[in-house]
């Protein structure tokens, strides 16, 4: 079972065309990503065997570097204490890692407590803590043909498409595709194709709308 993405995937998905930069995969492998960042990367990885292979190489590098590190001095008697702890641990053998079975996307979409906006757009917070500044992850569910209001991000924004087609700056993004909108970039994405587009979006701070209509609606779409 996957712990990486909150959603299970359709079978036979295509290899994504748009990937996170390798420096982001390296941050993930070294454990430097924040929780929300790691969720975004893990979701892309669930779709993408190519990036999984890159992460695997990076983690192997981590193993090789651990092997090569200058060893520290342990407190005396640590092995004996660890063996004693083994004897006192009630369940000596841990079950294999399977703590968070992914929720089927349709089950998630059926949950009642979505925040609904005009035009058939809705969103739901998936993860993230306002206090840490590490980013917050939202699930967006938008109808086909929808044009989102033009807005500018005060920080980078990451998107992984889960279903449907999302078009930004003329580039279509399909399921599994990872897009990173740069800090300060203005964009006005649209939903392509003829099905609803579901995407996982990480923001670090709420976007600033660049039109009057957007500014008026800002209080309702605070992320």
């Amino acid at each position: 079972m996957s712990r990486g993405t909150p959603f299970s995937l359709p079978r036979g998905a295509l290899v994504p065309a748009c990937h996170p930069g390798e420096e982001l995969l390296l941050d993930y492998a070294s454990g430097a990503s924040s929780g929300p960042e790691a969720m975004m990367i893990a979701t892309h990885l669930a779709f993408c065997a190519v990036c999984r292979a890159t992460v695997k190489v990076a983690v192997q590098a981590g193993g090789a570097l651990l092997d090569a590190i200058k060893p520290a001095h342990l407190q005396p008697g640590m092995l004996d204490r660890t063996l004693a702890a083994i004897d006192t641990t009630r369940s000596a053998v841990l079950p294999a890692d399977a703590p968070v079975p992914p929720v089927a996307l349709d089950d998630y979409l059926a949950l009642p407590d979505w925040k609904k906006l005009p035009g058939g757009f809705r969103m739901r917070r998936v993860s993230g803590d306002d206090r840490t500044g590490d980013g917050r992850v939202w699930l967006f569910d938008a109808p086909p043909g929808m044009k989102l209001l033009p807005h500018r991000h005060g920080s980078d924004e990451w998107i992984v498409i889960l279903r449907g087609i999302f078009v930004d700056h003329g580039t279509p993004y399909r399921p599994g595709d990872f897009a990173c909108m740069a800090d300060g970039e203005v964009h006005r994405p649209t939903i392509g194709g003829d099905e609803r587009c579901v995407s996982l979006v990480m923001v670090r701070e709420s976007p600033r709308f660049t039109t009057l209509l957007g500014k008026l609606s800002a209080p309702f779409v605070r992320l």
Binding site: E22, L25, A49, A53, I69, P71, A85, L94
Partner: protein, 188 residues
């Protein structure tokens, strides 16, 4: 105490299998002797003080014992496997949100499109190949890779701390990873 260049006897991979299958305490002692001081060094470089690092090292080694039954040498060599346990322990300790780890062999995932280069090698060969590959990296790339793993700093934090432009750090890390993949996929 210097370690011999070639160790006779079972590899660490085999020792971990023995812990899992036979609850072999002498195998555990051998794995502990090699890895516990390294795990402690890793934890100290990523920000733990010596006392906390000792405590976390003991927890990591306890997990090695308890998870050994699930260890598969075909998936990861001993050092890689213990690295991921130590990394996740550090994240659990210092962050409220746990690392979103994933199992590359999860059958729910999109299938592999082709035989990927690193699948052609056995884990132990891979360990050797990756060591060689890191040794062959240009110094400035190897240095950034060490910072990334030994101090668990993100590429943007590294850029700020070493005073290099973000683009330079990104491109060096990208080149380093591409080279490692290339070396692993090449004729080793």
């Amino acid at each position: 105490m210097p370690e011999p260049l070639f160790r006779a006897g079972p590899s660490f991979d085999e020792l971990i299998v023995a812990i899992g299958v036979h609850q072999d305490r002498s195998a555990f002692a051998a794995v502990f002797a090699h890895f516990a001081p390294r795990v402690k060094a890793y934890l100290m470089r990523t920000g733990s003080d010596s006392v906390t690092a000792d405590e976390l090292t003991q927890e990591v080694m306890l997990l090695v014992w308890r998870k050994a039954v699930h260890y598969s040498p075909a998936q990861a060599n001993a050092a890689t496997w213990i690295f991921t346990i130590a990394r996740n322990k550090r994240i659990d300790r210092y962050r409220r949100e746990r690392h979103q780890d994933f199992n590359p062999d999860d059958p729910a995932f999109a299938p592999e499109p082709e035989v990927l280069p690193d699948h052609r090698l056995q884990a132990t060969q891979q360990a050797q190949a990756i060591n060689n590959a890191i040794g062959r990296l240009p110094l400035e790339q190897a240095a950034l890779l060490r910072l990334a793993f030994y101090e668990s700093k993100s590429h943007s934090v590294i850029a700020a701390e070493v005073g290099l432009p973000l683009g330079t750090v990104k491109s060096r890390l990208r080149l380093a990873l591409a080279r490692l993949r290339g070396y692993l996929g090449g004729e080793v």
